[in-house]
């Protein structure tokens, strides 16, 4: 019921997401057909050229889609973030099935039939068009069917690089541990895959019955419509007077991204493009370096260690100074800190902490032998994460920590699947799920002050942005941020609405 309510309340965005998803998949598969079928013919005629192509397509297919999106971000022209890059990835995924079934379809043409065509005086092209391709058609359509179904699934991942589509709901739902939002994206995606499978299956049967699929006119019409869509989606998305505001893929980031975007919209004439819910730090950083992202909120500790690969520094002012200098050296400008410090906190279930009298990480260390930890994969990798924590406090857990998605750890802790996790200090779920943040009594975690980071080139072009964004400086303390996160994650209020309320209470920000 909540699900249907959600769809109805968000019907415009929801229909837009479905449409984007559909266009992405259809365009990608269409391009794959336009490229893959001729390549398949080439591969069949000239195995020496064709085998390496098939080999390449095989390799591409084995790259996990998220990794492929990551690879592509820094690549000029075809890469970056947004629909264009997503299209490239989906196209590459669709290529292999189309290529392979084209080749196997051509190989399945009986030799006497091919020979009859040649003996009859068909030219190479006539043989291909009148005999080989028509006979390979059922196989090729089967390939398109596989490509489409795979594409519908892979397109959900495309939301990680800001291409929109149904994956956006899935990512957002995972980030805020909201099953309804996940289902809001997952169910239509699954239905879309089923519908594609069914309708192409029908085409496959018709193709096998050896009757023409559609008239020539319909084919030309469909072909040119597809080409048009492809051209539009490939047109570079940036132009003058626009600023691209991004965020990583968790609640707080989306709220802050929305806040920056709204503020700029209200106080300037610039057109703001929102690329919220991008992937992780790496995605935002590479997108920014590639010039696809102009502005987002980063955390000083993350910038210091994850982006600039510097050793841990505990002094907050020193971290700010270093990070600001490193950003300046790489074409970015770090603006005033927003006020809150979203450091890692070690969390336990409130009931456990109270019954065992645990308030600090040192006290946790004493009983760590009985505990099962679960950490986000980033925390396990980072220098300021798990390994350092274990050394600093002498922790010894009952079992090796389970690696899971950061946003899933809260739920896993509350459900008793793990006993302690590392969360964000400002996460709204902490109070919702009755979790307790333990005091970092040995000051292990470095500061993670939230700071807006903007590309210097953009700031130079629109200098008015500097004071506008800096007017947020110090306005958002830990408690303010936690409350906004709570509104989003627990009260299920849309980020846009939360930002609206925030700005209403501070009229001086939008004079």
């Amino acid at each position: 019921m909540r699900l249907i309510e959600f769809w109805l309340n968000n019907r415009i965005q929801f229909l837009d997401a479905i449409l984007r998803h559909l266009i992405l998949v259809v365009t990608a598969v269409g391009l794959a057909a336009a490229v893959g079928i001729p390549l398949g013919v080439l591969a069949h005629r000239r195995p020496r050229i064709g085998n390496p192509i098939i080999w390449f397509a095989n390799v591409v297919q084995t790259i996990p889609s998220l990794a492929m999106f990551g690879f592509l971000i820094p690549v000029p022209l075809i890469g970056g973030i947004g629909a264009r890059a997503a299209l490239i990835v989906l196209f590459l995924y669709a290529l292999l099935p189309v290529l392979r079934t084209t080749v196997s379809g051509l190989e399945s043409v009986p030799p006497p039939v091919r020979e009859a065509g040649i003996a009859m005086g068909m030219t190479d092209r006539q043989l291909l068009g009148m005999v080989e391709l028509p006979l390979a058609r059922p196989s090729i359509i089967a390939g398109l069917r596989v490509a489409t179904v795979v594409g519908v699934g892979a397109a959900t991942i495309a939301a990680a690089i800001g291409a929109g589509g149904l994956g956006e709901y899935i990512f957002r739902g995972v980030a805020s541990v909201d099953g309804t939002v996940i289902l809001a994206g997952a169910i239509p995606a699954a239905l879309m895959a089923l519908a594609a499978d069914f309708s192409l299956g029908w085409f496959e049967r018709r193709a096998a019955s050896r009757r023409p699929l559609f008239g020539r006119r319909a084919a030309i019409l469909a072909g040119s419509a597809l080409a048009l869509i492809a051209v539009f989606s490939l047109i570079p998305e940036r132009s003058g007077g626009r600023i691209v505001v991004g965020s990583k893929n968790f609640t707080e980031q989306v709220i802050l991204g929305e806040l920056l975007a709204t503020l700029i919209e209200r106080r300037t004439d610039l057109e703001v493009v929102r690329k919220l819910n991008l992937g992780d730090t790496l995605v935002c950083e590479t997108a920014m370096r590639a010039g696809d992202l102009d502005l987002y909120v980063e955390y000083t500790g993350t910038a210091l260690m994850a982006i600039f690969k510097k050793p841990v520094i505990l002094d907050s002012a020193e971290v700010n100074r270093r990070v600001a200098a490193d950003y300046a050296a790489t074409g970015r400008t770090m603006l005033e800190p927003l006020g809150f410090n979203n450091t890692y906190v070690i969390l336990m279930r409130g009931a456990d902490a109270r019954s065992r009298g645990i308030a600090t990480i040192s006290q946790l260390a004493a009983i760590s032998r009985d505990l099962r930890p679960g950490f986000g994969s980033a925390f396990l990798d980072r220098e300021d994460g798990y390994s350092g924590l274990v050394t600093a406090y002498g922790l010894r857990f009952a079992e090796a920590p389970r690696a899971m998605d950061l946003s899933l750890t809260y739920r896993a802790l509350a459900d008793g699947q793990v006993d302690c996790i590392a969360g964000d200090a400002t996460n709204g779920l902490i109070s919702k799920l009755d979790l307790v943040a333990l005091e970092d009594d040995r000051h292990y975690f470095p500061p993670y002050m939230a700071v807006p980071v903007i590309r210097t080139e953009v700031l130079t072009r629109y200098p008015e942005l500097g004071p506008i964004i800096s007017s947020l400086g110090g306005m958002i303390g830990d408690d303010v941020m936690r409350r906004m996160n709570y509104q989003a994650d627990v009260e299920r209020i849309e980020p846009r609405e939360i930002v609206g309320r925030f700005l209403e209470r501070r009229p001086e920000l939008t004079p």
Partner: protein
């Protein structure tokens, strides 16, 4: 030999040698003349190069040495597409296009020649009638809906569609049961009496060669062991020829089984 002057030769092989790409020698300096309107039936064991001879005529392959002349011109000098459209070819396995109807199969070469639809249609009906298939009943059926004998007839109709002066037949009736085959032999004579093509037909069955050929050739080890009128072949004492004659259950009383 009962041959006219060489100007009337439609096809001639002049010391033709051919080796398979693998290296095995198939034809060894073969010479042969085929006159206008005659039906030459070539007999030989499997793998002796019968199909190779047809492929050389159709320029699917070129000889390693010597030359194959079609209407006085070497196949090497012919434009392969133009040459092939002057030659009807009934393949060993028929090779009907499974995705086309009977009518489309028969009309495929006229279509390649860019005939208009009405002309193709009337020609298709004409040749279907010629091979004994009622156009209205067969035109729109698919090859997989036909019996073996019907498919053979469609194969012949397709080869005749452009009214080519030359017709090549590779074991044309090999896959049929004896009764159907006999019927096809009668049909063959009826058709040939109307179209008067220069025909080269290869077979491993001496009975079929006797049934079809106005002249018979016996191929052995890359050469012609004999080339003569049927009666002469039947009376031959040559051991390489006798093998084939003696293999026949009833060498002289035949024609039909």
């Amino acid at each position: 030999m009962s041959l006219e002057n060489s100007a009337a030769n439609v096809i001639s092989f002049d010391a033709v040698s051919y080796r398979y790409p693998g290296g095995e020698q198939v034809l060894d300096s073969l010479s042969l003349e085929i006159g206008l309107g005659e039906t030459l039936a070539l007999v030989g064991r499997s793998g002796v190069g019968k199909t190779t001879i047809l492929r050389l005529i159709n320029r699917l392959i070129l000889p390693d040495s010597g030359s194959v002349l079609i209407e006085g011109r070497s196949t090497a000098e012919w434009d392969p597409i133009r040459l092939r459209r002057r030659i009807g070819y009934v393949l060993q396995e028929v090779g009907l296009f499974p995705h086309m109807t009977v009518g489309e199969n028969v009309g495929v070469v006229p279509r390649l020649e860019a005939w208009d639809a009405a002309r193709i249609r009337s020609r298709v009906d004409e040749v279907l009638e010629l091979v004994g298939l009622e156009p209205a009943g067969y035109r729109d059926r698919y090859p997989h809906e036909l019996s073996g004998g019907q498919r053979q007839r469609v194969g012949v109709a397709r080869a005749l569609a452009l009214d080519p002066p030359i017709l090549l037949m590779d074991e044309p009736f090999g896959a049929l049961d004896p009764l159907t085959r006999a019927e096809m032999h009668r049909e063959f004579h009826r058709i040939q009496s109307r179209v008067r093509k220069t025909i080269v037909c290869v077979t491993h069955d001496m009975g079929e060669a006797f049934a079809l050929g106005t002249r018979l050739g016996v191929l052995s080890a890359g050469r012609l062991a004999a080339l003569a009128a049927p009666a002469e072949i039947a009376a031959s004492k040559d051991p390489e020829v006798r093998i084939f004659i003696d293999a026949l259950p009833n060498p002289f009383g035949r024609g039909d089984q």
